[in-house]
Amino acid sequence: MLKKGDIILLLVIVLGILSVVFFGRENAVSLSNTSGSPFDNLGITAIIKKNDKVIRKINLKSVEKREVINISGLHKATIVAEKNRICFLESDCPDKVCVKTGWLSHPGEIAVCLPNKMIIKLEQDKNQNVDGVVK
């Protein structure tokens, strides 16, 4: 027969194993989730990068108020985020390709400002339809 102490020990072990399994799972989820927010899997995240560094991540689904982001540097740029969409509103770069791209609202869409080395791209954390678009 097992003693009381053995039963407690067994319980601790079972709990330990369960927590490892649970922890392991959660770990895997956060690894595959690029936005780092495990609770909003269907949100579209706008990632703003300058010189290959992420300067902002915005979950567009949860933007309630229009947000204006001013970027300083060689060329000044203004980015506007609204619910479900984002764009380069203004930029004093020479070609203004970034501004002409207009609003981004679908996962996979991308706006680029070459002179400023800036990029806005939209990602859906799960069930993204394509991995990339050739043009």
């Binding site: 072990i13 020479p94 869409e109 680029v112 394509v130 991995d131 678009v133 050739v134 043009k135």
Partner: protein, 350 residues
């Protein structure tokens, strides 16, 4: 009873080791994602594996060296020096990168009956589609410059690896081939480093290594030529392949209601006016895909289909001016026509 406890402890330790081992082997989910601004475009890399960072940095370095060697915007590049010394007796030593591109360029110029020609440089410059001030040149000016365009006229010594342009004013332009070559080099680096899964996009010139980490093929959207960036007319499932598109929508300007795009037909000196608005090539070699997407775009649907019959392992998606989508037989099982705009027709037969 003591034995029993030891056993339980032991099994606990073993089980927890096993579990932690398991989560560590999940490291195949590790990846780096990098965007760099090189070769006049955005380079995106997504490389999977614990060593991905090293490979990604090597690729950036390799692309830098290609750019420094071939850019017409860098005055000290070998290509710039070759161009500014056209008509002079001086020959230039070329490195293996330029050599490989010249060999491939020659092959595709011949295959396409001059629809692809790297000596198109003077006309690309004259139209200025890549500048802030593009314009329509006079007929006389075009004809004058066309005399400089001929891939057969270049002085390329394959044994000595030297090059010169014999006629004053001639210019070579690797714009329709260098990104493809660079993509092949990037993939070579990945394979050399044992990378099993990667997505590399050089400004729309895509190469995918292996499958995705979940072992399904990559899903690549084919740009809708008449919609905003990122909108596609269909999805292609590919692994270990390159996908390259040439279209009239990438760079263009409008004048008097006419669309003047950036792909100049070496035979007319004007933006290509075939029945195609987009041509996508799917194959193993990105340099071939890059050159062939331009060549087929210029040649038009009928001649391109004939050309593809002569080539092994090359598939294509053509979109015509009347908004019909044609694809080669091999692709049919891997292509999903998904046109949100409802403007395009998928021609399954033919």
């Amino acid at each position: 009873m003591k034995n029993n406890r030891i056993l339980i402890f032991l099994s606990f330790i073993i089980v927890s080791f096993y579990l932690s081992g398991c989560s560590k082997s999940n490291a195949s989910d590790d990846y780096v994602e990098k965007e760099s601004f090189q070769m006049g475009t955005v380079i995106s890399q997504r490389i999977y594996g614990s060593n991905a960072e090293v490979s990604a940095n090597k690729i950036i370095q390799k692309l830098n060296s290609i750019e420094e060697n071939m850019s017409v915007n860098i005055k000290t590049s070998t290509v710039s020096r070759i161009n500014s010394n056209s008509g002079q007796p001086q020959v230039f030593s070329i490195n293996s990168d330029i050599y490989n591109i010249l060999i491939a360029a020659d092959k595709f110029s011949k295959l396409s009956n001059s629809a692809f020609d790297i000596t198109i440089g003077p006309l690309v410059k004259e139209w200025g589609v890549f500048t802030d001030h593009p314009h329509v040149p006079s007929k006389r000016r075009i004809n004058e410059l066309l005399k400089l365009v001929n891939y057969k006229s270049i002085d390329f010594n394959r044994d000595k690896m030297t090059f010169r342009l014999p006629i004053k004013g001639q210019m070579i332009d690797f714009g329709a081939i260098a990104k493809g070559y660079a993509a092949d080099e990037a993939v070579k680096i990945c394979r050399g480093d044992g990378i099993k899964s990667a997505y590399i996009n050089l400004g729309g010139n895509v190469y995918v290594v292996g499958n995705k980490p979940d072992n399904t093929p990559w899903r690549i959207g084919i740009q809708n030529p008449r919609a905003a960036d990122g909108k596609y007319i269909g999805i292609l499932r590919v692994s270990d392949k390159t996908v390259v598109t040439s279209g009239d929508y990438e760079r263009f300007f409008m004048k008097d209601g006419i669309r003047y795009h950036h792909i100049i037909d070496p035979r007319t000196g004007c933006p290509s006016n075939s029945d195609l608005i987009s041509s996508t090539i799917i194959t193993d070699s990105s340099i071939s895909a890059d050159a062939l997407s331009t060549a087929t775009f210029v040649m038009g649907l009928k001649k391109s289909k004939e050309l593809l019959k002569k080539l092994d392992g090359v598939d294509a998606i053509f979109i015509t001016k009347d908004k019909k989508v044609y694809i080669t037989e091999n692709l049919k099982k891997d292509f999903d026509f998904q046109d949100e705009s409802g403007e395009f027709t998928y021609v399954e037969k033919g």
